[in-house]
């Protein structure tokens, strides 16, 4: 039998992995961010992410047309800013709906006696 703590860690990781994209598009639809500033923002929102996870993920989302990027060379150092595309906004809407429906269903099961 595996340690129940390991089982929990694995499951918690699955939760986080599944909700990370929603968190990213939610933050990026309000304002454009560069990699490190997004990392710190998520951290301040009590959702710390590894850089080695976040930076490749941003690139993947850009490739999928969810995000677009532009280099800003006016700053102290050149930085690559990401913002949501039109498709990204649609994705956000769909994900939010899915998320709240899922939340509702699970909460019902968790809280109510069946």
């Amino acid at each position: 039998m595996s340690d129940i703590n390991d089982v929990f860690q694995n499951q918690a990781l699955e939760f986080r992995r599944g909700s990370l994209v929603l968190a990213i598009v939610s933050v990026l639809r309000k304002k454009k961010y560069y990699g490190y500033s997004l990392l710190r923002t998520l951290e301040n929102l009590a959702l710390p992410v590894d850089g080695s996870t976040l930076y490749p993920l941003l690139r993947r989302l850009e490739k999928q047309g969810v995000l677009e990027s532009e280099w800003d060379t006016a700053d102290t150092r050149p930085r690559k800013y990401y913002k949501l595309t039109h498709d990204g906004e649609t994705l956000y809407q769909k994900l939010v709906t899915e998320w709240s429906e899922m939340n509702e269903k699970i909460n019902k099961i968790v809280k109510e006696d069946i």
Partner: protein, 321 residues
């Protein structure tokens, strides 16, 4: 600085040129941003930032989106299925072919025959594993979908039947065929392989003076035994007729063994006298012959006992509901 550049190089060196510059610039800016948070740009702090980002090869793989496994969950069950099937068909055939080719090539001894045959069969198994894995590895990378393998067409009617309880396990059939195959072929190699070699002298273990009419009898029993194995393979359950065949076979082979033991000198006396000069001198040749007689006699009795037990068992099972 050079440590950071080395890290960026390690991450981006296998990327396409167009992507490499962009990723490098972004990664550099990110690392510098992270460093700004630290009080100093000491080597220790730089190292800490890089350690946080982790193994550059892992980061590179995440950027490229390349698969980080040989065979993924989509293909795994098909891989295992194909592997089992290939091994189940390939290994017995390979074993038999290698064994025959080794016997034809006249090996030095029985031990070397077994070692080279088993070794070569294991080699064939490794080849099967390698090539099967390679095919699935290529499928995994080349974007074959699981639908191409007939997935999704599954219907309940494809379920296998629950096997009927069999009286004859497949292992018994395999043992029969291997043992009697060996017996049928034994006149070809036994005299060459089992014996004593000393300089130019080669004395076989079995007496060369055994009348040659025994050879067709031995081969005949071997072939009958193989036929018995094949019938058992087809029936998988004992029938009265098959049990009768088994009993007749057991009695015939017992009679042949007793006749051979009583009527002929099975072990080569010259072999024994050579053996006697090589072991301690306190044992006389007549003693050695006596012991050999006893050993052979007891082995034959045990063999007959096993045959008769098996014959009785098969008859009981044949009439069991």
């Amino acid at each position: 600085m050079s440590l950071i550049e080395r890290y960026i190089y390690a991450v981006t060196r296998h990327m396409p040129a167009a992507q490499r510059q962009d990723v490098s610039d972004e990664l550099r800016a990110t690392i510098e941003d992270t460093l700004d948070e630290k009080k100093t740009r000491s080597k220790k702090n730089i190292e800490a930032v890089l350690i946080d980002l982790g193994d550059p090869e892992i980061l590179a793989r995440r950027y490229s989106g390349a698969k980080q496994y040989l065979i993924g969950p989509t293909f795994y069950i098909y891989f295992i299925r194909a592997l089992k099937l290939s091994l189940a068909i390939g290994l017995p055939i390979a074993f038999c072919l290698i064994l025959i080719s080794q016997i034809v090539a006249v090996p030095e001894s029985l031990i070397s025959l077994l070692i080279s045959t088993i070794g070569a069969t294991i080699g064939v198994g490794i080849q099967i594993l390698f090539w099967t894995a390679l095919v699935f590895f290529v499928m995994e990378r080349s974007g074959v979908s699981s639908k191409d393998l007939g997935n999704g067409n599954w219907t309940p009617s494809a379920l296998p039947q629950i096997p009927m309880k069999r009286q004859i396990p497949i292992s018994e059939v395999v043992t029969d065929i291997v043992t009697y195959g060996f017996l049928a072929l034994s006149p070809l190699f036994l005299q060459k392989l089992v014996g004593v070699y000393s300089g130019d002298i080669h004395e076989p273990f079995f007496n060369p003076a055994i009348p040659s009419f025994w050879i067709p009898i031995i081969v005949g029993f071997g072939i009958l035994g193989i036929i018995k194995g094949l019938i058992k393979l087809r029936a998988r359950n004992w029938t009265p007729l098959l049990a009768l065949f088994n009993i007749v076979f057991a009695i015939a082979i017992s009679a042949a063994l007793i006749t051979a033991f009583v009527g002929t000198e099975i072990v080569n006396p010259t072999f024994l006298s050579i053996l006697q000069t090589h072991i301690d001198t306190t044992t006389s040749l007549s003693q050695l012959i006596l012991w050999t007689q006893w050993t052979i006699g007891i082995s034959i009795l045990v063999t007959i006992g096993i045959y008769l037990y098996d014959a009785a068992k098969s008859m009981v099972l044949a009439y069991k509901k």
